[in-house]
């Protein structure tokens, strides 16, 4: 137990939290607005990472890979909703069946990637850059880039949600879809935008995740999905700000416990935090449990 590993482990925590925040905000936004638990989210991340990989291997820069991953994520999330999820909802599939629909879609995506790419690890062709030591932290340039990207994305999302009509409409829909519809907010358009935005963040998170872990395979995203869900639940599902805080908490808890106790237990500690929070406050930190609305 030494203080000298504390600051570096906080540093690692910030990197993990950045990736997690990108992913969790995308996940929670979409869930809040559409009420569909999209268990294919992690596999969509992997798919975006593959697209980024293909761009990278054809000589594209990391920036281009990020762009391609984000564009792919946005487009495929949008199409997934329009071509699969919404038709199932229209056909009368209940919340219940929808979870199985999304899980099946995830399994299909993951195994399609496996069938095309094979059961091997992939690595982007890039340099993590030299180590820098701001404030006693140890980062390489790639990690600084990840943190920078996440912070920028979070600021943009926050501004979008609080400052624009569209963002306010999204939050209103998340809080109460019926009421939002009654008060004339075009919910269909809001839903489309939510999927696009969620997919964009999902794609970014996918590329960034494999930049950080350096090697990835077809199961990388689905393995990460559970901690994304944990971060979203910690913050109260549907709350973007909550998901950011949840990501920060889980990122720090995993890396600090990895440094002080054992790396093999880091996720268990993260989930431990979640379980305790759920016991104390079943709907997450930032929400009030409400089933009926004023009328």
């Amino acid at each position: 137990m030494t203080a000298s590993i504390f600051i570096p482990s906080v540093g690692f925590g910030l990197v993990t939290a950045s990736i997690l925040a990108l992913a969790a905000v995308g996940f929670t936004l979409q869930f809040g607005v559409t009420n569909i638990l999209n268990l294919a989210y992690g596999d969509l991340m992997t798919a975006a990472a593959y697209i980024g990989y293909v761009v990278n291997r054809h000589g594209g820069s990391i920036a281009l890979s990020l762009l391609a991953g984000a564009a792919f994520g946005a487009l495929s999330a949008f199409l997934l909703n329009r071509l699969v999820y919404t038709p199932f909802l229209r056909r009368g599939t209940k919340l219940f069946g929808m979870v199985i629909v999304t899980l099946s879609v995830g399994v299909i995506i993951q195994n399609t990637l496996l069938a095309i790419g094979g059961a091997t690890f992939f690595t982007y062709n890039f340099s993590v850059g030299s180590a820098v030591h701001p404030l006693g932290f140890v980062f390489n340039t790639s990690q600084l880039m990840i943190i920078g990207l996440a912070v920028a994305a979070m600021i943009v999302v926050q501004l979008l949600l609080t400052q624009t009509r569209l963002g306010k409409a999204m939050r209103a829909t998340a809080a109460n879809p019926g009421l939002a519809q009654a008060s004339g907010i075009a919910t269909d358009r809001v839903v489309d935008i939510a999927w696009l935005l969620s997919g964009l963040l999902c794609g970014l998170a996918g590329v960034v995740l494999v930049l950080n872990t350096t090697a990835f395979q077809s199961t990388t995203g689905s393995g990460f999905l559970v901690i994304i869900i944990a971060a979203a639940m910690l913050g109260g599902v549907g709350r973007a700000t909550g998901a950011m805080v949840g990501a920060l908490v889980l990122g720090l808890v995993t890396e600090i416990s990895a440094a002080y106790i054992s790396p093999s237990y880091k996720e268990i500690f993260a989930f431990g935090v979640l379980v305790i929070v759920l016991l104390v406050r079943p709907t997450g930190i930032f929400t009030g449990a409400q089933r009926e609305v004023a009328g």
Binding site: Q290, R291, E292, V293, A294, G295
Partner: protein, 266 residues
Amino acid sequence: MSAAAGAAPASAPVAGGLLTVDELRRDFGGVWAVDGAGFTVKAGSITSLIGPNGAGKSTVVGIVGGAVKPTSGRVMFDGEDITHLAPHDRARRGLVRTYQLSSEFGKLTVLENLLVAAPRQRGESLLTLVVGKRYWREEEERHVVQARTLLERFGMSEKEDEYAGNLSGGQKRLVEIMRSLMADPKLLLLDEPMAGVNPTLARSIENDLVMLAREGLTLLIVEHELDVVERVSDSVVVMSLGKVIATGTMAELRARREVLDAYLGE
């Protein structure tokens, strides 16, 4: 003791009535949906809760039913403070509610919808696992007879084996009312029981409610149609902006200016 015993069940305190809500307040993110509402429902009466949209009626119903927690205030039922009881514990004490939206058990038949509501069933206890069917068969037969009597009374016998999810809106309403009666209620809390029901059936439901009250059941009804309210209610509670602004018979209320204003301002 069931409500059927008469207009004044022995267990209810005479002074307070069967249901008393006191100084209820509830905020939703800074907005007071209910802001100090209080009223009493007398045993054996039909009390209507009216008011314009957004007056806080649904929130009051939610609080009385137990689905919504009040920020402050008290709910007394049958001489007991039930403010903090779970909805199912309230139902077991005889306070049974229906919902504004159809809430049938869609994949259960009409008869099953009624049977499920019978209180304190042996067949729902874990001993069923150990003993098997003979533990609950007789009780079940009794419930089937009860349920069929209700079906006949409400003219729904022919729909007995129909999935409740396949019924028309009005028939679903009937199922919900019959189901509530199977639950052995002292007080029925009906949230817009005539909403989405065709006029003929609505009129017939109206007559049923009056009949139930005559037989000793207490009813608290949220209703929009003032004509209906006037025909069925012994007492009317008017809410506006989260507060109770008037109580009395409909005739008394019609004469009062602020009540009309609350409606005209809608």
